[in-house]
Amino acid sequence: MTRQEIADRVINTTARELKMNASDIHETDSFAEDLGADSLKSIELVAAFEEEFDLSVVEEDALKVQSVAGAIEFFDSLINHQ
């Protein structure tokens, strides 16, 4: 899967879970400060990403991800580099 495909799926999943338009979400956005994802939403997002990419992530690693770009890198690394 290309990085762009991963980025699109991360952004679309984020938009769906946070009930936002995908066009309003940017790679530079922080989940907490910019998109308003509190710790409850963070858990739902991790679960949504797992289903989207059909992966099971290490919880403590996933919860360290702070930004959309970070999530893209995280899943790119899991999918393409492991």
């Binding site: 907490a32 409850l40 858990i43 739902e44 679960a47 949504a48 797992e50 290490v58 919860l63």
Partner: protein
């Protein structure tokens, strides 16, 4: 005390000092009594006065002992007592040694007063049906058995008769215990005051007992109004608290106009500003804020946010609904829970919930409101730093100093009680995940919605906590066994369960005391069959349950370890033991890392929003740093960091011991 009748010359002296008596023949004095220290006193009935030499401290000053400006009726007064400036009368009290009663409106007892003992409180259900009798020896557990075991009416009836028998056996007149201080108080009627109690500025007390002791004096402060109550050792009730039919247990703190009726508060509860009605506040129930109403419910190890509220009334058959917040729950600001509800242990409730919640098998959950819907995130507080702090702070904040601690408390956050709930929750969540199609965004469970994506996630969190608990218990036990014998067969044989419990996985929380259900059933049977002949017998059995907790916990661990991993701890090979240590390390490290991340979030950018007002970014950072510090300096975070290192060290040590033993 060898009291003597007064001779005529003594009577003359006292009358010249403004004293009078209805009959001087019924007034007796200690031979050591200094007559000049009895002035403007009016005696009636039988009055016995002890040695009044010496001084006593009141308001930080030393005053002579004696009786000044007071009417005394049918009293026995001990040695070195000062009674001064009593508005009306001190009547029918036995006053102990070294007592000070100063500037108090009245201290009056009827003949054979109950002093709050035997009063029945309508707890948990405001409409009644769970009447609980308060008495001096009440514990959270005997109260629980009275209120919440109505499925067994014969047990309830028999327990009630044991309590009444105890009340009859201990009935006595009202007393002011030695070293008590009663200063600047209003009317005190039919109140038994224990040794070393300190009553100051209290407004009105009627029909109560204030238990107190040298080790932990009880304090009743300004503006308190209390009727039909018992207040236990070390409690501090102050600043306008209003109590009507209330029991306050050991080391309870209450004040700032808190009002309570038909309510029980057990060890270390704290209640300020708010209101309690028909509340069964188990140990460590804390409510500090205005507009918080705790009503018609069973709580323990609970923390109420401001404006927390529940409703027990649907305007149909009256206030008949009740709630259960299992141990360790918290409610957020202005949360609302519709009763009937039962919230699983260590859950957090945020927002307003208009459905009847029933989630005992989903402990450690977040219950929140999202666009008007009530939702649950299972297992989320497992990795909240708040849960960790709670588990550590309760034993540290056990303020009870009385020699006998009536409430027998198991503080463990992870216990057979909570772990078994997680096992059930895990299985239920996995079953729901299996049966829920992908198209369905959420499932309904216990009156709440759970995001479908979180079903497996919650089950995973529970699995991690279960694995950590079981494997840590087994690993620790094995290490202890190997310390006593390096013979693997001998060491592992000592891990076997004695099989004493038929159902080691069925536990109950007896309001702070965790015990297998069959032990409670056995106690019920003993009470019902009259094998318990007194309330002391019941308390002894409860003590035995408490003492058996660790052994029972191991019986649970053996049973559930076998169910989870297919092997008894006693049958562990070196390889299986290494796997158990590995599993413990893996699950503990994961949960610990998640907790650490949760703690570090308290130092993220959003946490700095209110800092450095109208200042630049650098000043904002400096302001935050000076007030909150950083994750590198925060003591909680650093403790977590150190624990991670300790965890790694223990893992290395355990593995090394097993590997070394295998070589031998």
């Amino acid at each position: 005390m060898d009291s003597l009748h007064l001779d005529q010359s003594q009577i003359t002296v006292l009358e010249q000092q403004g004293c009078s008596a209805s009959d001087w023949q019924t007034v007796t004095l200690s031979p050591q009594c200094i007559l000049s220290r009895i002035r403007n006193a009016a005696f009636s009935g039988t009055v016995e006065i002890g040695d009044n030499t010496g001084v006593i401290r009141v308001d930080g000053m030393e005053f002579d002992c004696g009786i000044y400006h007071a009417a005394i009726t049918d009293c026995t007064i001990g040695d070195h007592v000062r009674i001064a400036n009593v508005g009306s009368v001190v009547a029918r009290y036995v006053v102990g040694d070294n007592v000070a009663i100063e500037n108090t409106a009245a201290l009056i007892a009827d003949i054979d007063p109950a002093c709050g003992n035997g009063v029945e409180l309508d707890v948990v259900n405001e409409a009644g049906g769970r009447g609980t009798v308060i008495f001096n020896e009440l514990s959270a557990h005997t109260a629980y058995m009275q209120a919440l075991m109505r499925h067994n009416p014969e047990c309830t009836r028999r327990l009630s008769s044991l309590i009444l028998a105890a009340l009859r056996a201990t009935a006595r007149g009202a007393r002011i215990g030695s070293h008590a201080r009663i200063v600047h108080c209003g009317v005190i009627r039919n109140v038994d005051v224990g040794p070393y109690a300190f009553l100051h500025g209290t407004q009105y007390l009627e029909n109560g007992s204030i238990l107190s002791c040298a080790e932990h004096p009880t304090e009743i402060g300004e503006g308190v109004q209390a009727r039909s109550f018992i207040i236990a050792e070390g409690a501090k009730i102050e600043s306008g608290a209003i109590l009507d039919k209330v029991y306050c247990g050991q080391a309870v703190k209450m004040g700032k106009q808190f009002s309570a009726e038909n309510s029980l508060f057990f060890a270390n509860c704290e209640a300020y500003h708010g209101e309690a009605v028909s509340l069964f506040a188990g140990p460590y129930t804390v409510t500090h804020h205005k507009s918080t109403l705790l009503i018609a419910g069973l709580f323990s190890f609970f923390n109420a946010g401001s404006g927390s509220n529940q409703s027990n009334h649907m305007y149909k058959l009256g206030p008949v609904h009740q709630g259960v917040f299992e141990r360790g729950c918290k409610t957020g600001s202005f949360s609302y829970v519709l009763l009937e509800s039962r919230i699983g242990a260590f859950s957090v409730v945020i927002g307003k919930h208009y459905s009847n919640i029933n989630t005992p098998n989903l402990p450690f959950s977040y219950i929140h409101e999202d666009e008007g819907a009530s939702k649950l995130i299972p297992g989320m507080t497992l990795f909240s730093v708040g849960t960790v702090r709670d588990g550590e702070k309760w034993p540290k904040r056990d303020n009870r100093k009385a020699p006998v601690k009536r409430d027998l408390l198991c503080f463990d956050v992870f216990s057979p009680y909570t772990v078994e709930k997680m096992r059930r929750g895990r299985d239920e969540l996995l079953a729901l995940a299996e049966s829920t199609p992908k198209e369905k965004p959420f499932v309904t469970y216990g009156g709440l919605q759970i995001n479908r994506l979180l079903l497996r996630k919650g089950a995973k969190y529970y699995s991690m906590a279960i694995a950590r608990y079981l494997n840590e218990k087994v690993s620790e036990r094995l290490m202890n066994a190997l310390a006593h014998s390096s013979d693997w067969a001998v060491a592992t044989a000592s891990l076997s369960s004695d099989g004493l419990l038929q159902h080691p996985d069925e536990w109950t929380d007896l309001c702070g005391l965790l015990t297998p259900r069959e032990r409670l059933a056995a106690l019920e049977a003993m009470i019902t069959s009259n094998a318990c002949e007194s309330i002391d017998d019941v308390n002894r059995e409860l003590g035995a349950m408490y003492d058996a907790y660790r052994a029972d916990e191991w019986r649970y661990v053996c049973d559930v370890f076998r169910k989870e991993y297919g092997i008894e701890p006693a049958a562990l090979t070196h390889e299986k033991a290494l796997a158990a240590v590995e599993e413990w390390k893996r699950s503990a490290s994961s949960l610990h890392a998640m907790i650490l991340e949760d703690a570090k979030r308290e130092f993220a950018a959003f946490a700095k929003i209110g800092y450095g007002i109208d200042r630049n970014e650098e000043e904002r950072e400096r302001d935050f740093l000076s007030v909150r510090g950083s994750s590198e300096t925060n003591s909680v975070v650093q403790k977590l960091v150190n624990e991670e290192k300790e965890l790694e060290q223990r893992y290395q040590q355990y593995s090394s011991i097993i590997l070394t033993n295998r070589k031998e």
